[in-house]
Symmetry: C2
Subunit: 398 residues, 2 copies
Amino acid sequence: MAENVLIVHGGGPTAVINSSLYGVIEEAKKIGTIDKVYAAIGGSEGILKERFLDLLEFPEEKLKLLLETPATAIGSSRYALEQEDYEAMVAIFKKYEIKYVLLNGGNGTMDTCGRVYEVCKNEDIRVVGIPKTIDNDIAITDHTPGYGSAARYIAATTAEVGVDVKSLPIHVCIIEAMGRNAGWITAASALARKKPGDAPHLIYLPERPFHEAEFLEDVKRIHEEKGGVVVVVSEGLKNEAGEPIVPPIFKTERATYYGDVSAYLAELVIKKLGIKARSEKPGICGRASIAWQSPVDRNEAVLAGSEALKAAVAGQSGVMVGFIRDEEAEKTDGVYRMHTEMIPIKEVMMYERTIPESCMNERGNDVTEEFIRWCRPLIGPELRDFIDFRELYEQHAQ
Amino acid sequence: MAENVLIVHGGGPTAVINSSLYGVIEEAKKIGTIDKVYAAIGGSEGILKERFLDLLEFPEEKLKLLLETPATAIGSSRYALEQEDYEAMVAIFKKYEIKYVLLNGGNGTMDTCGRVYEVCKNEDIRVVGIPKTIDNDIAITDHTPGYGSAARYIAATTAEVGVDVKSLPIHVCIIEAMGRNAGWITAASALARKKPGDAPHLIYLPERPFHEAEFLEDVKRIHEEKGGVVVVVSEGLKNEAGEPIVPPIFKTERATYYGDVSAYLAELVIKKLGIKARSEKPGICGRASIAWQSPVDRNEAVLAGSEALKAAVAGQSGVMVGFIRDEEAEKTDGVYRMHTEMIPIKEVMMYERTIPESCMNERGNDVTEEFIRWCRPLIGPELRDFIDFRELYEQHAQ
């Protein structure tokens, strides 16, 4: 009997999900006994429709493009699976002699992964999850592939916008970051700073209730001092009652559409403070950016793919690849250290991980050093240095 | 008497304005007889306040950072100059033994340049303009430094977002590009396409009246065919009556604030067509992006700086550096050719250049091949190839 792999992508794309796919393929080649690495074309729906493509058939030069292709090269879906779908999968796996099923995705996909494991556990079919989400909201693992690149994007972009705003310091610029319930991406904008006073000047996370009056006070104070103000906000800011600060603009049976927090806050600054303001919302430009892919994130994504297959071949099932930081050693010598461990999928299913209190400052308008220390290694090499002759002039003039 | 240069930046930043500054400095070193290259710190206001910094004092390793620093490293301003300000400048130039005044900016700055020239023309002070604007709306010159990088950014970003939307093809994604009156940046999104059917699927420019009914028809048709639709729109779309399609949200004495066209159109798609839609508005993330700086644009920006100083030293005044394309030769062998010429500043003052009819298709939802041919060399090297196994699967399955 053949020994085939099936890899499935679920949910929204990241800049490195294809790197995990590359890791799976390369590991399969190394193992040597794998016959086919099937990709399910179009996510879990692709399993049920038996839309399978063997990726081992493609030359290395094409496969290498996976490392620099954003989103998912084998498609994805948000198809809602029913119990009968799970049961139908078992027969399909058998038909294609699939022994290793790897599901790559976020919380929703890990839930699927647990259910696929349930229907396969009495068969010789092993099911392993590969974590992936820009939102970094999967439980237990220290972080998830996809996050480091989204974090690098927002940090680098905030640094560039910061220089832009500073060079013509007449307005408040509000950048909106993705992550509706978890502020991990928004928080990473703090890594734009090279020295005190650098942008971003204010950071607002969805984990803390947002107070408009305090926000306006903060903006006014910094505008008086600097002229230009850069604020980074989560798209999911909520008020004290836990309601989104921008009410939904439309609801359908399947979805709720929220207005843009950044545009709302820029308007507030204009109307309440009489200060020029504008908003930027790069949105999915961020999660699809290859230019700002974090090399650390990419390497870890490759590793997650290869470790998942290794674990399945070694007989593990019902687990997800987790990243564990050796925090104590890091504190001693400042060197980033991570290793993988298999985490029982039941422990991570449908639990959304948000930013802990210790990573946010008291006023709720910035992150703490603890967050910065944790996040810094994930975004990869240090961001570019910029030159600022105005600053040098001020030093000169003093 | 010393022979000093003064360089002044005006208006909004680009990704390569500092490259022109670098060109001026390097040219000054080459010429050898220049004593100081003063930068006016903080734009034209910096002249009046005599905030001057000699850039020849800085080591080459610091100056090189100019090539990769977005926005303006010597600041800028939108200060409205009065006639008495212009007259005051002459005395200041004399006091600092400034013989060459170089003004780098867009249409507003070229207007300033013309006025500075008027007050200096009977003195031994030469005034030369260096064009700069992401909007590409300066008259006569084929294009302006800053545009190629903004064009590369929107093309590359649209390509990445296109792959993202295609990999989970459930929604319409509307990207908003800068350029309120001229659609040059929006149009450049067409360079994202590598083959027919690639994103962007629709492009709407401010030069053509926007018809909501036609837009909805176009979106519906493409959504039925592809699932995912990518639309790029100018921030300044206007209706048949010439009014912005999104009414101003607020007006002050000095400024009008418009709502976001992309958010407005996404809402329209959701409500009128019942299709999932979202909007992305990278805004100034685009004009400040060093990752997507076009090397062609950067080199031309350096050239514009050095040519401006050369012309001034050679005795020219009241002129702007213009880029002339040798279109006939380009048509013959397809090789991009450009040379600079000095254009009388009066010919370019306050005239806004928009996209010609021949560059837009009949329905007003795309650009023509003529535009693409014109724009392609400006964005620099070809964009990355991505791999798409879903596409390969479909070909396989046929």
